[in-house]
C-alpha cells in the first residue's frame, strides 16, 4: 500500500450473542485506492462496512475514516463517507431528482449547491433525461446508478459500495464497474465488497479476503497469488525450438519450470503476463515460428481455495 491511509481498521470485533460476525479484523486503505473486501456470504463484509458507515457500533476495536473515529465522532465521520447499500435504497414513488435532492438535504447541502450537484451527478450516471421520472419506472441498472449517485452527493472522502452489482445483468454490471473506475480515476477512495472474483480482480488495487468473520489475507492480486506460491502457465506452440533457447528460458528468474511438448513447450511462471513480451521477443528473435501462445494466470480463486479449502462460489452453487 502506498499513500496516506484514509481508512484505518484495528482489531475490529462485532459479536451478536454467541456469533462473532467480525473477528479481529485489521486493514488500511490508502487515499485514491479501490480496496475490495472479498468473501462468501456471511463472511462479515457487510457488517464491517456497516461499522465503518457508523450504522452498527463495534463490540471492540477501532475504525477511523479520514482520521475521524467512527464510534466516538460518528456524526463528523458520516459526513466524510458515502454509502451505497446493497439494496436499492431509494424511494420508488419519487423521481430520480426528488430522491437525490432528499438525500442531499440529509447531508445538509444548501439547495443551490445541491441542485447543481444533482444535475452533475445525473449527467455522470447518464440519466439527465430521466431526472423527472419516478424510480419505479426505471430498469434495475438505472436504479443502481441512481443508488450510487445518492452516495456521492456530498463529495465524500471515501465511498462504501456494498455488493452494488448483485442481481443485475452482465452489461449493466459492466457499466457500473466502469462508472466506479471513472469515479476512482477522479481521486475517490473506494471500499468495495463483493463475492464475485472477477469484479475484485477487475476493479481493486488491493483485496482483503474475508471468511467466517476473519480477514485471512490482504494484498494485491499478485502479492496474494505469490504468497501461496501459485504459478501461471505460458503454453507455446511453435516450430524451431532448440535446447539453447530452452536453457535460456529456464534461467529466467520468474520461470520455475520448463517442459517440452510435442508441438512446443510449457513454462511455469510467477507472473505470466509480465513475462510474456520477453518470451515472445526472444523466440521471434531466434527465428522460431510461433503458432500460438496461451497464458493461464493464477487468480484470487486459487488464493481463496488455498486458504480455506473451499471454492468461493461453492456456497452459491450449492444454493442454486
Amino acid at each position: 500500500m502506498s499513500g496516506e491511509p484514509v481508512i484505518k481498521v484495528r482489531n475490529l470485533v462485532k459479536r451478536y450473542g454467541e456469533l462473532v460476525a467480525v473477528n479481529a479484523v485489521s486493514f488500511e486503505v490508502a487515499k485514491g485506492e479501490i480496496f475490495g473486501l472479498l468473501g462468501p456470504n456471511g463472511a462479515g463484509k457487510t457488517t464491517t462496512i456497516s461499522i465503518l458507515s457508523c450504522i452498527t457500533p463495534p463490540t471492540s476495536g477501532s475504525a477511523m475514516v479520514s482520521g475521524i473515529d467512527v464510534v466516538t465522532d460518528s456524526l463528523t465521520a458520516r459526513s466524510k463517507i458515502g454509502v451505497v447499500p446493497q439494496e436499492i435504497a431509494l424511494y420508488p414513488t419519487l423521481s430520480a431528482r426528488d430522491n437525490l435532492m432528499f438525500w442531499g438535504r440529509m447531508y445538509g447541502l444548501p439547495d443551490r449547491t445541491l441542485t447543481r450537484r444533482v444535475d452533475e451527478l445525473l449527467s455522470i450516471v447518464q440519466l439527465s433525461d430521466r431526472a423527472s421520472s419516478r424510480i419505479d419506472t426505471f430498469s434495475g441498472g438505472m436504479k443502481r446508478r441512481i443508488n450510487i449517485a445518492a452516495g456521492l452527493l456530498h463529495r465524500p472522502d471515501v465511498l462504501f459500495l456494498d455488493e452494488p452489482t448483485v442481481g443485475i445483468d452482465p452489461q449493466t454490471r459492466r457499466n457500473i464497474l466502469d462508472l466506479i473506475k471513472e469515479l476512482n480515476a477522479e481521486g475517490l477512495t473506494i471500499l468495495y465488497t463483493t463475492h464475485y472474483l472477477e469484479e475484485a480482480e477487475f476493479l481493486c488495487d488491493r483485496v482483503g479476503i474475508m471468511d467466517e468473520g476473519k480477514m485471512i489475507a490482504v494484498g494485491t492480486r499478485d502479492e496474494l497469488t505469490e504468497s501461496i506460491g501459485a504459478t501461471g502457465v505460458i503454453a507455446v506452440r511453435a516450430d524451431g525450438l532448440n535446447d539453447a533457447l530452452i536453457d535460456w528460458l529456464a534461467a529466467l528468474p520468474a520461470v520455475s519450470k520448463v517442459a517440452r511438448s510435442e508441438d512446443g513447450l510449457t513454462l511455469n511462471v510467477v507472473r505470466g503476463a509480465d513475462l510474456l513480451p520477453t518470451v515472445v521477443e526472444k523466440l521471434a528473435g531466434s527465428g522460431v515460428d510461433i503458432h500460438s501462445l496461451d497464458v493461464t494466470v493464477p487468480n484470487l480463486e486459487s488464493v481463496f481455495l488455498h486458504l480455506t479449502g473451499r471454492r468461493l462460489d461453492e456456497e452459491h452453487d450449492e444454493k442454486s
Binding site: 458507515s53 439494496e87 419519487l94 426528488d98 440529509m106 445518492a150
Partner: protein, 397 residues
C-alpha cells in the same frame, strides 16, 4: 430542519399514493353514506312513521293518544291491528308500533296499573329509539295528568259532585293541557331527538368513520418506519449525519400533518356532502380535529414501534383499531349498548374522539364543552408518544 425534510418527503409520498387517498377520503365518506342510509335513510330524519294499535273500547283515549302523538311534527302515525303492527315492524316496514292496552282509559281515570307496549325494529334503531323515547315521555305526561286530574276531580266532587258530561269536558281539557305540555313543555330538557336538524344520521356516523379511517391511514403511515428498514433507506438515513431522534421526529411530523389534512378534509366533506353542521364554534371544531389527529398519529406510531415488522404492524394494528372502534362507538351507536360495555369503551381513544365531535354537532358545544375530551386525548397522546419514542430509540427500527 432535516426532520422537516423527512416529514415533507413522507407527506409527498403518501399523498401520491392512490391507496392512501382511497383510505383517507373515499372509504370514510363511502362508509358514512352507506351506514347512514342503512340506519336512517335520508341525511336528515324529517318524520318517524309508526303504527298505533288501540282497542275498540278504549277509543276515546286511543283517539286522544293518537291525537297527542300526531300533534308532534316529527311523527306520522297510522292505525293498525296488533297483528298488522307486529308483521310490519318485523318486516322492517315500520320502525315501531305502540300498543295501547284495553282499559287504559280506566287506568288514567282511576289510577289502576296499565302497560303501553312499544314494538321496535332493531334494524332501525335510531328511529325506533326516538319513538321509544317520545312514548316514554308521553306516558309520563299521561301518568302525571291522570294523577293531577284525579286529584282535581276528587276535590271538586267533595265540594259539589260533577255529572258525566262535566267529567268528560274536564278530561277533554286535561288532555289538551297534556298535549300542550308535551309538545311545548314549560320546562324542557334539550335532547337531540326533538330537533329535526340534529337528527342527521350521517352527522352521527361521519365522526366515527372519520376516526376509524384516520387510524387506518396513520397505521399505514407509521408502518413506513418498517418499510424504510426493509427497503434499505433506513440504513442510508442512519449513515447520513443526522440523529435517530431527527428521523423519528420527521416520521411523526409527516404522519401528523397527513392526519390533520385527512380529518379537516373529512369535516369539510361532511358539511358539503351530508349537510352536517359541525356546530357554531369553528375554532373548537378545528382544535378537536387537530387533537384527534394527534391521538391517531401517536397511537399508530406506538403500534408500529411495538411491532417488529411492517406485516406485524398491519395485522396487530388492524385488530386493535377494529376492537377499539367497536368499543368506542366509531362503527355503531354505542349509546344503545349496556352500561358496562360503554364503561369499557371509555378506555378507547375512539370513544373520546367521537364524544367530542358529537358534542360539537348535537350540543353545539364550544371549546369549554369539549375540554374533557381534549384533555383525555392529549393525555393519551402524550403517553403513546413517550412509549413509542422509547421503543424506537432502544432498538434498531
Amino acid at each position: 430542519m432535516r426532520a422537516l425534510y423527512i416529514a415533507l418527503k413522507d407527506l409527498k409520498m403518501r399523498l401520491r399514493d392512490r391507496n392512501t387517498l382511497v383510505m383517507m377520503l373515499l372509504l370514510p365518506v363511502g362508509m358514512t353514506a352507506i351506514i347512514g342510509f342503512a340506519f336512517g335513510g335520508e341525511s336528515g330524519i324529517s318524520t318517524v312513521e309508526f303504527l298505533l294499535v288501540a282497542p275498540e273500547e278504549g277509543g276515546f283515549l286511543a283517539e286522544a293518544a293518537a291525537g297527542l302523538l300526531s300533534h308532534h311534527e316529527l311523527f306520522d302515525v297510522e292505525r293498525a291491528t296488533e297483528e298488522e303492527a307486529r308483521r310490519a315492524v318485523a318486516a322492517g316496514e315500520k320502525s315501531a308500533a305502540v300498543v295501547i292496552p284495553e282499559g287504559l282509559l280506566d287506568s288514567v281515570l282511576t289510577g289502576a296499573p296499565a302497560e303501553v307496549r312499544v314494538l321496535l325494529d332493531p334494524a332501525s334503531n335510531i328511529k325506533a329509539g326516538i319513538v321509544q323515547s317520545m312514548i316514554e315521555q308521553f306516558i309520563s305526561y299521561l301518568s302525571a295528568g291522570s294523577a293531577v286530574g284525579r286529584g282535581v276531580f276528587e276535590t271538586l266532587d267533595r265540594a259539589e259532585p260533577l255529572g258525566d258530561s262535566e267529567h268528560l269536558a274536564l278530561w277533554g281539557w286535561m288532555f289538551m293541557w297534556m298535549r300542550d305540555a308535551w309538545t311545548e313543555p314549560p320546562v324542557s330538557l334539550d335532547t337531540s331527538t326533538t330537533d329535526t336538524d340534529d337528527l342527521n344520521v350521517h352527522a352521527y356516523f361521519a365522526p366515527g368513520f372519520a376516526v376509524l379511517f384516520l387510524l387506518f391511514t396513520m397505521l399505514a403511515s407509521a408502518k413506513t418506519i418498517h418499510e424504510e428498514r426493509e427497503s434499505g433507506t433506513y440504513e442510508r438515513l442512519m449513515a447520513a449525519p443526522l440523529s435517530k431522534t431527527s428521523i423519528i421526529a420527521g416520521k411523526m411530523t409527516g404522519s401528523y400533518v397527513l392526519a390533520a389534512i385527512q380529518i379537516l378534509t373529512l369535516i369539510a366533506l361532511g358539511g358539503l356532502l351530508f349537510g352536517i353542521k359541525w356546530g357554531s364554534h369553528p375554532g373548537a371544531t378545528i382544535i378537536m380535529a387537530l387533537v384527534t389527529a394527534a391521538g391517531a398519529t401517536s397511537l399508530a406510531m406506538l403500534i408500529a414501534a411495538a411491532a417488529r415488522t411492517g406485516r406485524q404492524t398491519d395485522s396487530v394494528g388492524t385488530a386493535i383499531i377494529l376492537v377499539m372502534s367497536l368499543m368506542g362507538g366509531s362503527m355503531w351507536p354505542i349509546e344503545q349498548a349496556p352500561e358496562a360495555f360503554q364503561r369499557f369503551g371509555r378506555f378507547t381513544f375512539n370513544y373520546w374522539a367521537h364524544s367530542g365531535f358529537k358534542k360539537l354537532v348535537f350540543d353545539d358545544a364550544g371549546l369549554a364543552g369539549i375540554t374533557q375530551e381534549i384533555s383525555i386525548i392529549c393525555a393519551m397522546s402524550a403517553v403513546f408518544v413517550v412509549v413509542a419514542v422509547l421503543l424506537l430509540s432502544r432498538r434498531r427500527i
